[in-house]
Subunit: 319 residues, 2 copies
């Protein structure tokens, strides 16, 4: 039986994941390719094409490929370009959609990774009946995808949804973007590490993490420590959630979403992040919004949301 | 010749303005009625009906009324209710659309006043070709209407766009909403008055406004003083614009609008408010947004934007 499928591709700084999926989100094939091995984006696309082609040769009668959906950092949905992505080896403006569609001779849709995650949640996850929601991805940085009236918010230039860079502390922590006090300098894997080190300086509680250097410490170590009763690690999560909750309250004042989904490493810390986030959000909400907005784990937390989301983007374009 | 028209109604705490307008925004009739004279919303609607009816009797052959558009504080587009409006004498939840449609036997659409202003700008003003923009109304408080992908953002519950209540200073000024540090406690007619009094306390510059009591001072006095070279008044505008600009940068990170329109008393202060707002916004913007977002005066500044906006809402529903 021949099945209509799309290719979903999640491009990260180090690894690129890809999958072949049907309309229901069933993954028939998954693979990984090293992004930073390819200095030229064209040879990268050639390698992806070859990889997919080999699979397809074996399953010629099984699949009809309808298109390619791509999630990538600093990707612009309108132009199909990846623009000035600090975490990719390809600098400047890369006409990524064009390169892919020329090589694959298929429709291609491109958006940033957090938007792809939001679409994944909408098409395959817990937001299937939601018209207004927010996706927050907590990785090295903080990404976000806003859905309003059932559509992704791209803004006039394709760059909307940069919640990682709202200013939460005037003259606060230095951000990779050049500004100071951006949300992601507090709320992200890197952000909680910085908070942990701030707490080591200001507090006196003992902690095994005091034996770990800044460069060696990972967010997961803080989660493990919190689970083991480490007071400093718990305080670090408390501060992180408090900061996130107050920022989310401001986002609610903008778009009043039905739910806010958290995805990524920090979200896996469970109650350590969710509880202070909810408390702080409720405290900062205008009364009319209180008790209404759900803060949830992504339903695709343990699945390949980025690949599924990229595929979902293409399915959305096709429908 | 018979012309299709709608009734636009702008309900304020003290006065309600109404007008009859065609699809092009020509106003054929305008009037004002005292809102707070009517303790019962039903008798208020009766009075509005009588007022309109008298005009229509004289112009029976000229006009066909197609509907009624209403802008009101705390109005919910989805439910047609006015809910817990602190500035209206009608308390609790008022099924305003129902009362109007029963009395007028016409389609009725209701939204909050700032949303109505945004629709007015979109249908009759400078946002006619814009799909993504922001309207900020600077009155006693700060209202906002967000337009994304060509549609007003109502959110899941009809209450989106409450930018006056984003928290800009943690534990800052007490707000009428019960919270502290809301944007409108700094950026509004009341906000700049509070800033002026803060400056009188912290600075030593002389100012004729030092002879005016808090209750007597009006925002317009501060504008006049700034125009007359009053250093304190100019500083008050500078702080107000700086605060507004940083808040707008956060909104840009959410929805990346093509333009931001300012409307209302403070916006009439011209350069005193626009210059610091633009400077501060640019400073707080992520690089990809810099130099792209226009901050403009509403093109309907000297027109009855609220009535036109309410009418435009109805025209939008009808089309």
């Amino acid at each position: 039986m021949n099945k209509e499928v799309v290719i979903g591709i999640d491009i990260g700084g180090t690894f690129t994941k890809l999958g072949i999926t049907d309309r229901s989100g069933n993954l028939y094939y998954e693979n990984v390719i090293e992004t930073d091995k390819y200095e030229d984006p064209n040879t990268f696309v050639d390698a992806v094409h070859e990889m997919v082609h080999e699979v397809l040769k074996k399953h010629e009668d099984d699949f009809t490929i309808k298109g390619v959906g791509i999630g990538a950092p600093n990707a612009n949905y309108y132009t199909g370009n990846i623009e000035f992505a600090p975490n990719l080896i390809w600098k400047g403006v890369i006409p990524f959609s064009n390169i892919f569609s020329n090589k694959f001779d298929l429709p291609v849709a491109l958006t940033n990774d957090a938007n792809a995650a939001a679409i994944g949640e909408m098409v395959f996850g817990a937001a299937q009946n939601m018209k207004n929601f927010l996706m927050i991805t907590l990785g090295t940085g903080l990404g976000s995808g806003l859905v309003v009236n059932g559509d992704l918010v791209y803004g006039h230039d394709g760059f909307a949804g940069e919640l990682g860079h709202v200013t939460v502390v005037e003259n606060g922590r230095k951000c990779g973007c050049g500004k100071r006090g951006c949300l992601e300098t507090y709320v992200s894997a890197t952000g909680i590490k910085r908070t942990m080190f701030e707490l080591m300086a200001t507090e006196t509680d003992d902690s095994p993490l005091r034996n770990v250097s800044f460069n060696q410490l990972e967010a997961k170590d803080i989660t493990d420590a919190a689970n083991n009763g480490d007071i400093l690690a718990q305080k670090a999560y408390d501060r992180t959630g408090t900061m996130l909750g107050s920022a989310l309250a401001n986002t609610v004042a903008h778009i009043s979403p039905q739910a806010i989904f958290l995805f990524g490493g920090l979200a896996k810390a469970g109650k350590w992040i969710f509880e202070p986030t909810k408390i702080s959000m409720e405290q900062h909400l205008l009364e009319i919004f209180r008790g209404k907005i759900k803060v949830l784990s992504s339903a695709l937390m343990d699945k390949n949301i980025a690949v599924l989301g990229a595929a979902a983007l293409m399915w959305k374009e096709l429908s």
